[in-house]
Amino acid sequence: MSQKPAIRAEGARLFAAFQAAGAVPVEAGILLPAETLLDLYGEDIRARAYVTTDPLQGEMMLRPDFTVPVVQAHMAHGADPARYCYLGEVFRKQEHLGNRPSEYLQVGFEVFDRAAPAEADAEVFALFAGLLAGTRAQPVMGDIGILMAAVQGLDTTARRKAALLRHVWRPGRFRQLLDRFSGRAAVPAARAALLERLATGSPQALIAAAGPMIGLRAEADIAERAAALIEDAGTRAIAAPEAALLYDLLGLQAPAEAALAHLRGITFMLPAIAPAVDNFAARLEALRARGVDVARLPFQAGLGRTTMEYYDGFTFSFEVEGLPAVASGGRYDALTAVLGQGRSIPAVGGVIRPEVLVQVRA
C-alpha cells in the first residue's frame, strides 16, 4: 500500500480542518459491544461488520462506524451544544472478491445542537463542500424527513403507517407494502387463504387445532396478530391521489430549488409535510447564505435510504461514479433518542473517506 502515507496525510489535513471549525477531537474504541449495534441495525450488520467473541464481554464488533460510539459518549457526558471530530479506521467485510478495502480511514464531524437545525445542516454541508472543492466529487442531497412526514400524514390506520415507517430504510419492502396498502397490488393468494381460515373460528380454537403451543411467542401474541389481520383486511385502500403523491415523492429528483418549488406545489394536497418542507426551505436559505449554489445542487428525496438505517432528515453525499462515496452524512435525531435512554438531542454530521478522496483529486 504505497498510497498509505498520502491517505494518512489527507486524513490528518481533514481532521485539522474539522478542529479549526470548532470540533473537539474524540476517541472511540475499535472493539465495540456488538449488542448495541445489532439492536440498532439488525442482523444485516453481521454481513458488513466483523464480529468476534470476548471471553468476558461476549460478542464484540470491530468498529463499523463512529456515529454510535460518538453519540453514546455525548449522551453520557457531553456538553450541550457540542461539535466533535474523529479520525480512525473502520472495518467492513466485503462479500465480493475485488479491490474494495475492508479496512479504511474515516474522518468525521458531528454537531449536537438544539438551537437551529437548518443552520447546523448547512454548517456541516458547507464545511464538507469547502474541503472537497476542486475534486471530482459531485454533491447530492436529500431529506428522509419529508418522506417520513408524508407517511405520517397518510389517511390510513396507525398500524399501516407504522409498518411503512419501519421499512423506510428498505426501499423494496416499503414499495411492496405501499403497493398493497394502496390497492395497486392484489392481496397475495397466501394472505387471502389465511384470512379465509381465520374467519372459520375463534383464534383460540384455531390455534388449538393447529398444534401444541411451543416457543416463546404466546397464544396472546398470535391471537392479537390474527385480530389485526382481520381488521386490516377491512381497511380501505389509501386513496389513489394520496398514494400518487407518495410515489411521486419517492422518485423526486431535481435541482434543490426546483425540488422545493415542487414540494410547495403539492403541500396543499399533503398538508402533513408542511413542517418538513419548511425545514427544507430554511436549510436551503442557510446554505445559500453560506454561498452554496442551491439552484444547481441536485436533490433526491430518498437519498440515504439504503445506507445504515438511522438518517431521519437531511442527507448528503459526495460521489464519483464507480467509487464508494467520498463523503456522506445526514441528520439522525431519532438515533440519539434510542441511545440516550430517554434523552435526545438533534444531531447532524458526516464522514469523509481520505482513501477515496486521494483518488479523486482533480
Partner: protein, 224 residues
Amino acid sequence: MIKIGVPSKGRLMEQTFEWFSARGLKMRKSGSEREYSGHVAAEGVELVLLSAGEIPRELAAGRIDLGVTGSDLVRDKLADWQVQVSEVAALGFGHADLIIAVPACWIDVDTLDDLDAAAAAFRVRHGHRLRIATKYHRLVRDFLTGYGVADYQLVDSQGATEATVKNLTAEAIADITSSGETLKANHLKVLSDSLILQSQAMLFRSALSTGPELDALIRRLSGG
C-alpha cells in the same frame, strides 16, 4: 497428484463411492472401519475423506482439486462461490430444501410478510428480536435481507435445530428438509414462500486447479 475430497461418513459417502465407481473410478474406505482413510483405484488420484462442511473451504484453498459436497454448503460458506469453484456434475442424490419453519400453532403466519410483522410485534412484547436458529447463516441472512425482513436475529444451531423452538432457544428455524417429517414431528410448518435453496450433492472443481490430467479425469466423470 489429483486430490478428490469426499464426505467422510454415512449415506453421503456411500452414494458418492457408488457414483464414482459407476464411472470407472472405484473408491473404498481402507484400514479399519473407524479409520478415516480411503483408497481409489486409479493412478495419480488420491482420495481425501473430509467433513462435508469443510470441503468448500478446502476447494477454495486449492488443497483438493475436486470435491463432493452439498450445493447449500458451497453457497453458504464461500463468498462469490462461482469465482472460487465450478460445478462439474450434479450427483442425483442428497436432495434437500433449505426453508424457514415456524410453529404450526402460529395460525397468523404463513409467509415472510407475516414473519416480518410477527417479528416487529414480538420484539415490542418480549424485548428482543425474534430468534431464528440455523447453521446456514449467510444464505438465510441474504434471503431475509433480500425480502426486507427486520427485527430478527440468527442464533447458531449445528444440530437438532427442529428442537430449538420447543427448548425456547429460538422462535423459528431455517434448516434443510427433504420429506418434512421431522418438521411435522416437532410441530413446525414451512412458510409458503421461504424456499431459500434447493440443494443436492454436487461434484465441484477448485478454480485454482488446472492441468490436462484433471481435464481428462473430469471428461471421464461427466461423460460416463
